[in-house]
């Protein structure tokens, strides 16, 4: 007999109009309203934090992509720059940047005179030349060495301006702050204003920020991210190539083939634990194994890549196992039912279905690795590297930097111009992360569309 016919227990439920909520309903509704409010406020706080972060990074970092240049005609005196007169690059290399600096100085003076600008008589020749970056001479020398036919000609040269001059055009340096600054004087800045009006000085897009290497503490205007970007790219390549196959193979074995016993339980727990191990620990491990024991070079992307691979593996394994677990068992049954072997069932059916999850996990792991700083500090990637590493595979062993380490490096330096550099580097890092996520979404869409 069903219970439906039995007498309902006589619950004391007073009669109540539907139009008027009773006290209990009101309390429940109030609780729900409160909870919704908390949720909405959490979202608002999160969005605000994100906006503030982006605004501050973009606000202080976008300037790094523009740089002040001094545009002057330079007469490349062949007698001074090529004493042998035979245009032999080996001989021309004997003329150091000091020789080129003199030519730049003369060119700048001539340009100022030609435009008829008033120069404060208190300004020394050295102070006028100091408007240009110390790197400008090296720039000119490289240009001439690359193309000796320029000798004897007069070229339009865009010299990097000094960091303080750059700051003046960007509003960071003012006449008041210059009065207290031993590196620049108000008289110099007045001259810069006149030069700007005359069209000798302007803010231009600065591709060198993305392509060139780091520069020393005293010339922030020349510092770039080229080496760091290349180093990070090399490391990501190594991480992807190593961690994806190893991680996926390990997960498939653990999830599908491994017997369930104490040992595999322990492995499973420890993989989860590894994902939570502080990254600096991996740095120590990499230092001990790859550099001290295996004798790989310091500061090399290969070592960084290996360390980051170790760090990324747990993330990929956990994500892949979760994705494999989420494939409905009926699909495996179906494959086994028509006589597929276990491996065929996995590779033909389970793995393709798990692919979106695996890719998401991999990209998250890569993104983590891209932003990782601490382990790289320990394996020497914090070193000052100016030379661009070579093409792979040899380039994997050349010293390089990494984007997050470069950010850290920039923030350690005294010159305020590096603040802008650091923020600019963060923007580049964020752009890479956005690109990686976009790729992940695209791949996921493509794999999902196939079904």
């Amino acid at each position: 007999m069903s219970d439906a016919t039995s007498q309902m227990p006589a619950a004391a439920r007073p009669k109540h109009s539907l139009f008027e909520p009773d006290a209990r309903t009101r309390r429940r509704n109030a609780a729900e309203t409160r909870f919704r409010f908390f949720g909405a406020s959490a979202i608002v706080v999160a969005v605000l934090a994100l906006v503030i972060l982006l605004a501050s990074v973009l606000g202080s970092g976008l300037g790094a992509f523009r740089q002040t240049f001094i545009h002057i005609p330079i007469t490349l005196d062949a007698t001074a720059l090529d004493k042998g007169g035979n245009r032999n690059p080996e001989d021309m290399k004997k003329v150091t940047t000091i020789g080129y600096a003199k030519i730049l100085e003369q060119g700048l003076k001539a340009a100022i005179a030609e435009k008829g600008l008033t120069v404060d008589p208190a300004l020394t020749a050295k102070q006028i030349a100091g408007l240009m970056s110390q790197d400008a001479a090296a720039q000119l020398r490289n240009q001439v060495l690359a193309d000796p036919s320029l000798l004897g000609q007069t070229i339009e040269f865009s010299a990097l301006a000094n960091g303080r001059v750059d700051g003046f055009l960007k509003g960071r340096v003012t006449l008041e702050s210059a009065a207290r600054d031993s590196n620049i004087s108000p008289a110099q800045l007045n001259l810069v204003s006149e030069m700007k009006d005359a069209g000798l000085v302007s803010l231009d897009f600065n591709p060198a920020f993305i392509t060139s290497g780091d520069a020393s503490e005293v010339r922030p205007e020349a510092a770039g991210l080229g080496v760091a970007i290349l180093g990070s790219a090399y490391m990501m390549l190594i991480v992807l190539v190593l961690s994806l196959p190893i991680g996926v193979a390990a997960s498939i074995y653990l999830e599908e083939f491994a017997p369930k016993n104490k040992l595999t339980d322990m492995i499973e727990v420890n993989i989860s634990n590894l994902a939570a191990v502080p990254s600096i620990v991996f740095g120590i491990l990499g230092l001990a194994i790859f550099i001290n024991f295996m004798g790989l070079p310091q500061s090399a992307p290969i070592v960084g890549g290996l360390v980051l691979t170790l760090m990324t593996l747990p993330t990929i394994i956990i994500a892949t196992r979760a994705a494999l677990k989420a494939v409905p068992p009926s699909i495996r049954d179906a494959a086994l039912g028509v006589g597929a072997s276990k491996m065929q069932a996995i590779f033909h059916h389970a793995l393709p279905l798990a692919m979106p999850g695996i890719l998401t996990g991999t990209i998250i792991g890569l993104a983590q690795a891209l932003g990782e700083t601490a382990p790289l500090l320990l394996i020497g990637m914090v070193a000052f590297v100016r030379e661009t590493p070579g093409a792979p595979p040899e380039g994997f062993f050349d010293p390089a930097s990494a984007l997050p380490v470069q950010v850290y490096n920039f923030t350690q330096r005294a010159d305020p111009a590096f603040v802008e550099r650091a923020s600019g580097a963060i923007i580049v890092l964020l752009v890479f992360l956005v690109i990686m996520n976009a790729v992940a979404i695209m791949l996921r869409r493509r794999f999902e569309r196939r079904w």
Binding site: I331, D333, A334, G337, V338, G339, H349, L353, W451
Partner: protein, 265 residues
């Protein structure tokens, strides 16, 4: 009533295709199946009936060693397919499952095209030499499964986009594409509506001319409609096994009678 007709069908084939002797199944400590002896006849539909948890599905999954995938399952006793012990060490379950196909309770087409669903079995077993042959096998299987006319214009459409009944018939087409000798069906109609059920039942009757079919079902009417022989399981025991007509009209065991008349189960 037409549905309840119990035809005294002449059981022409009498040779045992599969034979089980003293089969015991344990799931860990749980003794799920106790001492089952049964002969599955060739070109016959055999129905397994019984209340939930009585072991009929478990036994069905023993017949093509799908229980191997359950780590805790242990199978004792012997099951032979044409006098070869399928639990022999030399037997690869993969080749066994090509000979003993299976259709599951819930339609489970691969999330691929209709064509690929059916072509998968022949492909992995290398049954066809070229695309034309494969096309032929796919068409023949879909025709046999009585779904060809509905899908012939959209073989590239995903199999998961079909209706429930169509999906189940697609799964049957997939199972018979490898030309099995025995077809196991685990409650193939439990997720289907009456019309789709009728189509699948009709199909089962046609398939009998080529395979032996073993079907697990909760519906006694279905067992009566489609099968020639019926086995009644109860609490892990095979209570009674015989011709369907005899089981339903004149059961020898009181438990069978109670179940058929609805007093237990």
């Amino acid at each position: 009533m037409n549905d309840m007709r119990i035809v005294e069908r002449d059981v022409t084939a009498s040779s045992a295709k599969m034979a089980a002797r003293g089969v015991q199944v344990y799931y860990g400590e749980n003794h799920a199946l106790k001492d089952v002896d049964i002969d599955i006849l060739d070109k016959t539909v055999t129905a397994f009936i019984g209340p939930s948890g009585c072991g009929k599905s478990t036994f069905l999954r023993c017949l093509n060693r799908m229980n191997d995938t359950v780590a805790s399952a242990r199978v004792l006793g012997s099951i032979t397919l044409e006098n070869e012990d399928i639990y022999d060490k030399r037997v690869d379950p993969v080749t066994l499952r090509a000979k003993v196909g299976m259709v599951f309770q819930k339609p489970n087409p691969f999330p691929k095209s209709i064509y690929d669903n059916v072509a998968y079995g022949p492909k992995i077993h290398g049954l066809t030499r070229n695309k034309a042959e494969l096309d032929e096998v796919v068409e023949k299987s879909l025709r046999k499964a009585a779904i060809w006319n509905e899908v012939k214009d959209r073989l590239d459409a995903p199999g998961t986009g079909l209706s429930g009944g169509q999906q189940q018939r697609l799964c049957i087409a997939r199972a018979i594409a490898t030309s099995p000798e025995v077809l196991l069906m685990d409650e193939p109609c439990s997720a289907l509506d009456p019309i789709a059920t009728a189509q699948v039942e009709e199909l089962i009757d046609e398939l009998r001319s080529q395979f032996s079919v073993v079907i697990v079902t909760h519906s006694m009417q279905q067992a009566a409609r489609v099968s020639q022989r019926t086995a009644f399981f109860h609490l892990g025991n095979l209570v009674e096994y015989g011709e369907t007509g005899q089981i339903f009209t004149n059961p020898s065991d009181p438990r069978t009678e109670s179940y058929i008349t609805g007093r237990i189960g």
